[in-house]
């Protein structure tokens, strides 16, 4: 998994989402959360999926992560259709997911413990990633002693520590303030470039998506479809400084145009639901 192992097939898609459909419920209560979505992520590429709340992002994340095996179409890693968690994939969840009974360092070292990595080595590796997410002085703290954003950083470090070939993240920065978000974004970019990690980031944050991605998949609101795929041709290596550039502003404006429509549909949807409830109530 070191840099020297870089695959020669750098342009091969590492992850293919092919005509994926997922419906919940039955009868008249059916919700189509993901509707015929197709896109692919190349080896070493950073792709973001952006869409308004409730459009089916987490559902897609769970399908790709192999946690929802009952879906139509195919998610493929290599030749394999995903129907269970794949060892090459590391996941960072949207909800807080630290283990409250373990210290920060024991949380982060957890995946290595499962792999049977000797204690001193796993502590070293965990230490490295804790440092990277800026929690070095909290190694021996318990999650109950941390803020929400700090806990989320522990989860990120816990996923990074096993250096997965494909990194899947579901709104990992949602609980962070803008400054931390930008700086942590830099760290993630840096790791991703170092390890040539294929990354799929689920987000509803435009700045974050443009700052980090090579490509952005814009989703529609209900049913969740691919509205557009935007290539982000900002230079690499890239840091959060890019946020000030004209090109950056241009991309943000362009994608916001697409997103506004979907977001307002989402808003209208929940407003009408609320007024229906009010009328009934």
């Amino acid at each position: 998994m070191s840099i020297s192992e870089k695959t020669p097939l750098a342009q091969e898609p590492a992850l293919v989402v092919d005509d994926v459909v997922k419906r919940f419920g039955r009868g008249t209560e059916i919700v189509t959360a993901v509707d015929h979505m197709s896109f692919s992520v190349k080896q070493g590429e950073f792709v973001s999926v952006i869409g308004p709340s409730g459009c089916g992002k987490s559902t897609l994340f769970n399908i790709i992560g192999g946690l929802l095996s009952d879906y139509e179409g195919a998610v493929k890693i290599g030749e394999e259709r995903i129907s269970a968690p794949h060892p090459a994939v590391g996941m960072v969840f949207q909800e807080e997911s630290t283990f409250p009974w373990r210290t920060v360092i024991d949380n982060v070292a957890f995946p290595l413990e499962l792999q049977g990595v000797p204690k001193s080595e796993r502590m070293d590796r965990a230490h490295h990633f804790i440092d990277m997410v800026g929690l070095a002085s909290f190694e021996n703290a318990f999650p109950s002693q941390l803020s929400g954003g700090m806990k989320q950083r522990v989860s990120i470090a816990r996923t990074l520590v096993s250096q997965p070939k494909i990194l899947l993240m579901d709104e990992p920065f949602a609980a962070l303030d803008e400054q931390t978000r930008l700086l942590l974004g830099d760290k993630i970019t840096q790791i991703q470039q170092e390890l040539n990690q294929t990354t799929l980031l689920i987000t509803h944050n435009l700045t974050e998506a443009v700052q980090l991605s090579d490509r952005i998949v814009v989703m529609t609101y209900r049913p969740g479809q691919v509205k557009r795929i935007v290539d982000i041709n900002l230079p690499r290596p890239r840091t959060s400084d890019v946020v000030g550039s004209d090109a950056f502003g241009h991309y943000v404006a362009e994608i916001w145009n697409d997103l506004r429509e979907e977001a307002s549909r989402g808003m209208a949807d929940s407003e009408s639901a609320a007024s229906r409830r009010a009328a009934h109530g």
């Binding site: 946690l67 968690p85 590391g90 997911s97 283990f99 009974w101 995946p111 499962l114 318990f142």
Partner: protein
């Protein structure tokens, strides 16, 4: 130093002070004739009776017997209750079939069935231990199931995404996550166990502190009786302090 020590110990000191004040109030009420001293002896008499029950009635040995029964019965209900809880959690069918029965068992006044147990196990500590055990079982089973079932789904998903085996999942995620609720079950259970054990000792006039309290009460030695009750509280406090230790050792950071 002294100041921070005081501040840290404030709750304990406050608790002690409250106790002392209550005792003094009772003393005053009884001495003043407001409360009949033949129903409640003055605390000072109870205090004086301590020496007598220790030296003449050998209450410490009685406490040891009661504590031993408590340890065996309480320990057995943990060792048997937790695995049963795990089984019920694993099998939805069993769980639906059994949960109501176990709930009923938890609420049933099993103490009243002591004649049956006497027939089965004879007039021996065995009867006392078995009854304590049976009484302590239900809360542990129920709380174990509840604890395991309330594991946050996202933690289970973390485990699945790391491709954990089901035994790793149990030992490293489900059980630690359920631990606080299981301990609530143990605390409930041990309360039942101690009540049952002392109660049965009293009822069948056998063994530990319960029997001694029975004898003292028969002799109408009220200060002695109340001193005996103080020793029961002492045993209970010791058990719960030990349990607290084990709990904070098993699950730091909570």
């Amino acid at each position: 130093m002294a100041e921070t020590f005081l501040r840290r110990r404030t709750p304990e000191l406050f608790g002690m002070a409250t106790l002392v004040v209550c005792v003094l109030v009772f003393e005053a009420l009884i001495r003043g004739g407001v409360v009949n001293r033949y129903i409640i002896p003055p605390p000072s008499d109870i205090l004086l009776a301590f020496e007598r029950v220790i030296v003449e009635e050998n209450i410490l040995a009685r406490c040891r017997d009661t504590a031993f029964e408590m340890l065996v019965a309480g320990g057995a209900s943990v060792l048997v209750g937790v695995p049963i809880g795990v089984l019920l959690y694993r099998s939805a069918l069993w769980r639906r079939a059994m949960e109501d029965w176990i709930g009923a068992l938890a609420a049933a006044p099993i103490v009243l069935a002591f004649p049956l147990f006497l027939v089965l196990f004879g007039r021996s500590p065995k009867t006392i231990i078995v009854m304590g055990f049976v009484h302590g079982l239900a809360p542990i089973i129920l709380k174990t199931v509840e604890g395991l079932a309330s594991t946050r789904p996202v933690l289970i998903n973390v485990g699945r995404s790391l491709k954990m085996t089901s035994s790793q999942m149990f030992w490293k995620i489900l059980l630690p996550s359920a631990m606080p609720i299981i301990f609530t079950g143990i605390r409930l259970s041990w309360t039942f166990v101690l009540i049952t054990i002392v109660g049965i000792e009293y009822l069948i006039n056998l063994g530990g502190v319960g029997q001694l309290i029975n004898e003292l009460a028969e002799r109408y030695d009220l200060p002695g009786t109340y001193a005996g009750i103080c020793f029961v509280i002492l045993v209970s406090v010791l058990f719960f302090l030990a349990l607290e230790r084990v709990e904070s050792w098993l699950q730091p950071g909570r």
